[in-house]
């Protein structure tokens, strides 16, 4: 069993797109932390741009599905946190520019 790397997880998360803004969750800065233990169990700490996001549950599932597709991943848990609250400074420059925030 090969050790799963953070880069692999982030690459998988880049395939999950927020359909409203059209950018992936990593570039939006919604992924706060990725933790992988020795057994390749992945724990993802993330947030959403709005608390009442109607895609709340689906977004969690997409993240889980995307990471589970990485070979050798044993399990995936996704934790939604609200602290610190998301703001545009957490997004990549590409996103900021596209949204007109730069």
């Amino acid at each position: 069993m090969a050790k799963v790397t953070k880069e692999q997880v982030y690459d998988a998360l880049r395939t999950v797109i927020d359909p409203e803004v059209g950018f992936n969750l990593v570039d939006l800065g919604l992924i706060y932390d990725v933790d992988i233990d020795d057994e390749n169990k992945v724990h993802i700490k993330m947030t959403l741009s709005t608390r009442g996001c109607p895609l709340h549950q689906m977004m969690q599932q997409w993240v889980k599905d995307a990471v589970e597709r990485i070979p050798d991943v044993k399990s995936v848990t996704v934790e939604i946190v609200w602290d610190p609250p998301w703001n545009i400074s957490m997004a990549s420059d590409v996103v900021k520019k596209a949204l007109g925030a730069m």
Binding site: P19, P54, L55, L99, G100, A101
Partner: protein, 409 residues
């Protein structure tokens, strides 16, 4: 196996009938506009018919449909019973038709249409109250939704009392009841709902964060006080109390304007899309409505007040139409594409509305709204009719855009 959450996104088939009939009534109200002139009194039954066609058939119908989707979003919990909307729709639809027929054809129908509208709105309000009871949130939005539904019931009750009077079943002072009814429904329900919902939607779509909510915390109780004072003052003939309420209404709007400006300043998403254009025009209309309305009240100029009310109606229209380009693509996407995420390419929401048609709708409606406003202000038949024609073309573009979005596959 993951299941699509019904809690946060009710079935498309439940909401779409509200939107289709709401837009149909909007088109109908624009057609009807062509049969009016700027010389009228608000106490004429035919004028009341148009106002109800627009406010109940279009504004309320779409707000109710949108609420099926938005209540879980703003309250962060699922509906007490979203299935009740399957009952609300046909009852409201038949009620609206009865109400309009009552105003335009035979007043006896007013009581029957009014009763059905009352029933639909009571079911709606009960679902909202029971949904609120499920949430621990005590945000300004929750307070606004709670208050707005209380005023909705008060507004509908006063309206139903008038319907009984006009049908010959009862006797009330129509002029006083009109004031109470209009303030309870337009100010207490529609505007209060706008206060609460825009506090969530504008930051959500504009990606605004970190702004103070102090102004809206003042705006909501001030509006509640304003509507209560006008309601009581009008029903008991206490003119001073009514005047105090009208003044409080303007103060509340000033607080709300301050809140909107804070959200506007902190937004990070600055694309000039159809939603953003519609918000800009809508809020500009609101500013005009308040400024012109204040002058009208100050100088007692009825025609100026009519023009201000038209601008207020256009605020509602642009706010609603602009959000349709966000809400419908989301619902269609959720129900047709969300299961395909990760399996094949799925469209982005901005690809799911017809951009050119939406733009035509915006400009036609904007020009039409401005011309009708000027026609009312200056008593000009030509401007009024020209405006009505532009409004109708805009409404047709809206209808075709809505159908395009609903059919997107």
């Amino acid at each position: 196996m993951f299941h699509v959450s019904k809690e946060f996104a009710p079935p498309l088939g439940l909401i779409v009938p509200f939107f289709i009939s709401g837009v149909f009534f909007y088109v109908l109200s624009c057609i009807a506009l062509l049969f009016y002139t700027p010389h009228f009194s608000h106490l004429e039954l035919s004028v009341a018919g148009w106002v109800h066609l627009f406010m109940v058939g279009y504004v309320m119908m779409i707000i109710f449909g949108a609420m099926a989707q938005l209540v879980p979003v703003v309250l962060e919990t699922g509906h007490f019973s979203v299935d009740w909307y399957y009952i609300i729709f046909p009852v409201l639809l038949i009620g609206v038709i009865g109400l309009i027929a009552g105003f335009w054809l035979d007043p006896i129908l007013l009581s029957f249409g009014g009763l059905l509208v009352l029933v639909a709105m009571v079911i709606f309000a009960v679902d909202v109250f029971l949904t609120i009871a499920k949430t621990q949130l005590a945000t300004p939005t929750v307070k606004a939704i709670k208050l707005s539904n209380i005023f909705l019931l008060l507004g509908i009750l006063s309206g139903f009392a008038m319907a009984l009077a006009l049908s010959g079943f009862w006797s009330v002072d129509i002029e006083d009841f009109v004031h109470a009814h209009v303030w309870a429904v337009v100010g207490g329900y529609v505007l209060m709902s706008v206060y609460g919902i825009t506090l969530v939607l504008l930051p959500m779509f504009g990606l605004a964060h970190g702004f103070s909510e102090a102004p809206i915390r003042r705006a909501i109780p001030t509006l509640a006080a304003a509507v209560s004072l006008v309601y009581v003052g009008a029903l008991f003939g206490w003119r001073f109390v009514e005047g105090l309420g009208i003044f409080a209404g303007f103060v509340s709007v000033a607080f709300y304007a301050q809140q909107i400006s804070l959200i506007y300043k902190t937004r990070v998403r600055k694309e000039l899309d159809i939603w953003y254009r519609s918000m800009l025009f809508g809020y500009a209309s609101f500013a005009v409505a308040v400024a012109v309305g204040a002058l009208g009240v100050l100088f007692g100029a009825q025609q100026v007040i009519y023009a201000a009310i038209w601008a207020l109606f256009m605020f509602f229209a642009f706010l609603i139409n602009g959000h349709l380009y966000k809400i419908i693509p989301f619902l269609v996407w959720f129900h047709r594409f969300s299961d395909l995420v990760g399996k094949q390419r799925v469209p982005m929401l901005h690809e799911m509305y017809p951009k050119k048609q939406a733009l035509y709708q915006f400009w036609m409606s904007a020009v039409g709204a401005a011309l009708v406003f000027l026609g009312l202000l200056f008593h000009s038949d030509a401007l009024f009719k020209a405006g009505g024609s532009f409004m109708l073309v805009g409404a047709i573009f809206l209808a075709t855009s809505v159908m395009w979005m609903i059919r997107y596959r």
